[in-house]
């Protein structure tokens, strides 16, 4: 489906996969997919497929990790060796260590960790299939899994990336657009609180473009959180009928 001659935006203004610039890839969300975990979720952004599992609060394996006033949030972002077309070494790469930190920091403002001092909350984000936007899909899946685990949260978070390809701002960049694009702006936030919890920028955007990109991302995040709530509501179907 790659566009001919390296053009990522057609003359009709459509992207290489036929989407409009402000169109998200098809989103699929599911909760409670792993019975062993306290909470779990699967999120798909087009061909990007991410699984999240949450355990805890529980005693951390090493007691030096304990914090006297709150729970520690430990996030492990990992790409499965089969998630990319070239085999990805299963050992944690520099990028995975960084993304683990970025996802943790995107979740920390919403997790009410003060309720469980001296414990650890473990979040595992496993990328099963990567086609761009894995960190934002990871944040979205982790947020759903935390809610599924019953860990108190101030609000649900979701993430999306806005890119710039052929001079056009595009929502939810995939792998092709990410690698050939001019800029990439991953954003995560909690619309219920009006809070941005993750903001990164690769490449260059003008001030005007940045504001426009942030606006596009925010509207998409609002929609993603709506979908998260819909999925959770389906899980508790029947509650309101009691």
């Amino acid at each position: 489906m790659k566009a001919a001659h390296g053009r990522l935006i057609s003359e009709e203004g459509l992207r290489h996969d036929g989407r409009r610039p402000d169109e998200h890839r098809p989103v699929k969300m599911e909760v409670g997919v792993l019975s062993n975990a306290d909470g779990s979720a699967m999120v798909e952004f087009g061909r990007t497929k991410v699984l999240a599992a949450v355990y805890g609060p529980r005693e951390p394996p090493q007691r030096f990790m304990l914090l006297p006033d709150r729970a520690i949030l430990r996030v492990r972002y990992h790409m499965a060796p089969f998630s990319t077309s070239d085999r990805k070494s299963p050992a944690p790469s520099r990028r995975e260590v960084e993304l683990s930190k970025v996802i943790r920091e995107a979740l920390e403002p919403v997790v009410i960790s003060e309720l469980y001092p001296r414990t650890a909350i473990d979040v595992f984000v496993e990328v099963l299939q990567a086609d761009g936007g894995t960190r934002t899909a990871g944040v979205t899946a982790a947020s759903l899994a935390l809610a599924d685990a019953g860990i108190p949260m101030r609000a649900l978070v979701a993430g999306v990336a806005v890119g710039k390809v052929d001079g056009v701002l595009v929502l939810d960049v995939d792998e092709v657009e990410d690698s050939a694009g001019e800029a990439d702006l991953p954003v995560a936030g909690a619309p219920d609180l009006g809070l941005i919890t993750l903001l990164q920028l690769n490449g260059v955007l003008s001030e005007e473009e940045f504001e426009q990109a942030l606006d596009m991302a925010w509207r998409a995040i609002e929609d993603l959180v709506r979908q998260e709530k819909e999925v959770l509501r389906r899980k508790y179907q029947g509650v309101s009928r009691a």
């Binding site: 919403v110 414990t119 019953g150 860990i151 029947g238 509650v239 309101s240 009928r241």
Partner: protein, 238 residues
Amino acid sequence: MGQTSSGGSSRTLVLPGDPVGEDVEARAPYIYVDDRGVKRAAVPGFVDDRGGKKVFVPLESIYIPKPGDIVIGMVHSVGVTNWFVDINSPYMAVLNLQDFLGRPFNPATDEPGRYLSAGDDIKAKVLAFDRTRNPLLTVQGEGLGKIVEGKIVEIAPARIPRVIGRKGSMLEVLSSETGCEIFAAVNGRVHVKCPNPEVEAIVILAIKTIEREAFTSGLTARIRKLIEEEKVVRGVGK
């Protein structure tokens, strides 16, 4: 937000971040007040309007020990003069040998491993807990101590009120229909002691069904029917 009403009460499903309304009592960890003073849900739950009084009922919860709670614990490891007990909580509980024996002990002769080993189940009371130290258990009390018969079923702690039912109605159905002794501990563990294994299997199936279908309408009647049907299928109680 799904909202329906029946029989003078209405329920509204709320999810983390949703405002719950000012007239709902704020109680940690299920409800918090944000920077602008708005009360919001922190876990999935529903706001139950019971004739003007609004109550938040959590659908997911994590068991945090409270002094006085009766819990079912599993011995995790044996210390020199105590046991570390898993009580299905983020915090490992401690049971001291002196408390278990009910008398001062001689470290040379009284070894904890002689009385309880890893994997043993106990019914105990939470004596003290303040989150700065691990919870302390006691087995001094009627019906407390090592569990020597029956089975332990583990379910989500948020579903325990449903296993008990309003004024104990569900427990009453479970025990009267099967003849089993059932104790539902607040930490999400249910101890069942039944006259025979077939009935035990039926009770466990019923408890798992309650966990799965908790908070749906007409559950007590359906559980009664399930037990009756299973008794016919398994050929018990004739």
